[in-house]
Amino acid sequence: MTIKNDSFGRFDFVGKAWLFGGISLILTIASLIYLAVNGINYGIDFKGGTEIQVKFAQSVTIEDLRKSIDDLKLGEVGVQSFGEGNEYIVRFQGRTGKTDKETNEILNSDLGKIRNVITTQFASQGPDIRRVDTVGPQVGAELKRNGVLAVFYCLLVILIYVALRFDYKFAPGAVLCLFHDAVITLAVFVAVGKEVNVAILAAIMTLIGFSLNDTIVVFDRIRETEGHYHDKGFGFVINRSINEMLVRTLITSGTTFVSAICLYIFADGTVEDIAFAMCVGIFFGTYSSIYVAAPLVLLMEKLNLKKARA
């Protein structure tokens, strides 16, 4: 038997929920518009193309490298310096042929030409081709489709699980909150100029995973508190639950955030992207489980009552 306490705690989350809910709504819509207008910069995983990462033992300027590759006239080729020292990423889309098969062949032959230039013209600078990724158009389209499907089915599974395990009034809150986090993070990714590829997709999954964990834990507490305070109204229940969970939420988010930051600072490439997603995700995931998921449950509850009264 727990001792009942009539106060909901230190902070009135629900009272400000509409304010933050509004901000979230605006932020989500703004992100969607931003993504729609600006477009998503798909990496080669999704749109097909080639990426070559090359490191030289001796100094090579980006201009030299770019000039040698431009001389091949392979359409638009991007050269970007990477990491520290003489490391570069050469990126190109490849020209499109009449059929996918032709595009593929062009892609492969262009790849050969660039590799040839790097290993012959810069032979004395000690080139080390560290990574080559070539994705043909068919595979890219398929990866993109599978990625979108994976996200969609994930959300569907979560919707069903939450509706069954908790109550259906909890389900839309959980899913919309994940959608909110995913869209805003994607917008952040695009805004900081990251290309969207399979690794970023994995990163978004990581963020969904974290945000989901946070939301479920808060929901769990709401359900428990609900049993003790039937008479106090749902707003009170939510407020009290969140307040009681506040220390846990801050500690978990804080420690995970710190370790994600460490990973972000030290690692690079794929792991860096995923760590970045985790940092953004932990921030929005924590925020959204308090200010997005819970108020949505409240909203669902109100709609419910209205329907019951009518």
Partner: protein, 564 residues
């Protein structure tokens, strides 16, 4: 505490098993037989470096080619059987759809009888009018056929890859018409791609008896000694080229030496049988229509060959001129089989009976191997490179080192915080976090999963969940203590009440991980796998083991105060 003894034993066993499996990753047990596990964790190509290729197989092209061959042989058969038709033409070659135009009702009946007699297992009649019949392959036949095309392409690629001696090549079917090739540590990517892309070459060659096997062996040994090389020091194709160049002056004119892998040898080098072959036969894959495993009158497997019309004449001449000699089936300079010719074989159909004295399974295997080799040369599927990912060994090593450093720093910060904030319970939490990571690597190792870079991110997320589980439990214990409960009640209630949140969170995450595993490809899967395993080990370490430790402290060692 109910069952504490058993729970302690179980926890200890679990941790011990984890240590047993993880240790070979850090300590080299070498040949020491007493350590139960030798397996090491697999690293993905993105970590250890290597070549990853996805090849598209032009299955439709092969089917369409086979439809055209079907038409040719059908026309020839009809002529032979005096079935009068106006025309036989392909409608939709990808499905084997063929329309046969006839003159009248009698002609139509004759064609129907002909089809029922000869093609009843292959072709189904789709529709017919007074003057034409349209047929196509049975779906089951078509699917089986497509599947064989893929298998034969895989077999051909495997033959080629064997040349490189790559430690653990993985060649597998992906989807309906793709082949995924993974070659860890592959350095010479250009050569590998080139080899994979060349189509298989099939030759029928007559075995020459101008030199006895002993003479041949002696000549090879001499050449190897003079040039100081052997099959083990060179790639097979280079070896064969060099050997034949060295022996050119000593061999009879128009002949070459190729090798067969002896039946029970694991590699070519372990048991190669030389054959002296005549090069003047000019009968190759283009002469062959199809080859498949059939059965003789006693039910023993045999290989049936169908030659096309040009090929059947050549084959008849060749067999007629070489009765009682051996004819070698050579795929990519490797002798696959060398059956003896008993008679002149006319009519374009031949069978290869397998040597007796073996069990049926062995014969079946050989029959399949020979027919696959024949088909690979007869109807080579063209391959198209769809995806190439190559990671140099230095990059992977760099990436993993940096990720490791980041994780260590992160882990250290978490442990310091846990100890400072939760004190004694923080120590338990840190210990169980350690066991969690240990168990995760142990499970990955024992189940033979591959660790990829996104997998490392999955581990990071798992650790985040595990921290959360510990925080949830400790916060609950604090709450219970605040309510004035004694330590043992607080611990019991703390774990009990935290459990529903932990389980809910884990089950939801597991469900999404399963979805990811199902829909994801490559990196997404690597991520999902570690996430799933991480959930299991997190439940074991942070819920089960940590409870056992706390229960032991409270009930066994009668600790009265535990700083939380």
């Amino acid at each position: 505490m109910e069952g504490l003894r058993w729970r302690s034993i179980l926890a200890a066993l679990g941790v011990a098993a984890a240590i047993v499996w993880v240790l070979p990753n850090v300590v080299n047990f070498g040949e020491k037989a007493w350590w139960p596990s030798k397996q090491k964790l697999n690293y993905g190509l993105d970590i250890q470096g290597g070549l990853h290729l996805v090849m598209g197989v032009d299955v439709d092209g092969v089917v369409s080619e086979s439809t055209h061959r079907l038409i040719t042989s059908m026309k020839a058969d009809m002529q032979k059987e005096n079935v009068a038709v106006k025309d036989v033409k392909s409608v939709n070659p990808n499905l084997g759809e063929v329309t046969i135009d006839v003159n009248d009702a009698a002609g139509k009946a004759a064609v129907e009888k002909f089809l029922a007699d000869k093609y009843s297992t292959v072709l189904q009649v789709m529709s017919s009018t007074d003057t034409s019949i349209t047929t196509r392959y049975f779906d089951a036949y078509l699917n089986d056929y497509k599947n064989r095309v893929i298998q034969q392409a895989i077999e051909t690629i495997r033959n080629r890859i064997d040349e490189f001696g790559v430690a653990e090549p993985s060649i597998s079917q992906q989807g309906a018409n793709r082949i995924l090739i993974q070659l860890p540590g592959m350095e010479d990517a250009e050569k590998a791609k080139q080899l994979i892309n060349t189509t298989a070459k099939l030759d029928f060659m007559i075995v020459s008896n101008e030199k006895s096997p002993q003479e041949l062996q002696a000549m090879i040994a001499e050449a190897e000694k003079a040039g100081n090389y052997s099959m083990t020091t060179m790639k097979y194709s280079d070896y064969v080229t060099k050997l034949n160049a060295d022996l050119a002056s000593k061999l009879p004119a128009k002949s070459v030496v190729y090798f067969e892998k002896s039946a029970n040898a694991t590699t070519m080098e372990a048991g190669a049988i030389p054959f002296l072959l005549k090069t003047d036969t000019d009968l190759g894959g283009d002469s062959l229509d199809d080859a498949f495993v059939g059965y003789d009158q006693y039910g023993a497997p045999q290989v049936s060959l169908h030659f096309n019309s040009a090929g059947s004449n050549k084959f008849a001449d060749l067999t007629g001129n070489n009765v009682n000699r051996q004819m070698a089936i050579v795929l990519d300079k490797v002798v696959k089989s060398a059956p003896s010719i008993r008679d002149r074989i006319a009519g374009g159909q031949a069978v290869i009976t397998l040597g007796g004295g073996r069990d049926r399974n062995g014969m079946m295997e050989e029959a399949k191997m020979i027919s696959t080799a024949l088909r690979a040369g007869a109807l080579p599927a063209s391959l198209e490179q769809l995806e190439e990912r190559r990671v140099g060994p230095t990059l992977g090593a760099d990436a993993i080192d940096k990720a490791k450093l980041g994780s260590y720093v992160g882990a250290a910060i978490i442990v310091i915080f846990m100890l400072a904030y939760y004190k004694a319970m923080g120590a338990v939490a840190s210990l169980s976090l350690g066991i969690n990571v240990l168990a995760l690597f142990a499970l990955m190792t024992s189940m033979g999963f591959t660790l990829t870079l996104p997998g490392i991110a999955g581990i990071a997320l798992t650790v985040g969940f595990a921290v959360d589980a510990n925080v949830l439990i400790n916060e609950r214990i604090k709450e219970e203590l605040r309510l004035g409960h004694g330590l043992n009640v607080a611990v019991k209630e703390g774990y009990h009440r935290a459990m529903s949140a932990i389980i809910d969170a884990n089950v939801t995450t597991a469900a999404t991980a399963v979805v990811l595993l199902y829909f994801g490809t490559g990196p997404v899967r690597g991520f999902a796998v570690t996430l799933l395993i991480g959930i299991v080990t997190s439940m074991f370490a942070n819920v089960f083991v940590s409870k056992v430790i706390v229960d032991l402290l409270v009930h066994k060692f009668k600790v009265k105060k535990l700083a939380v």
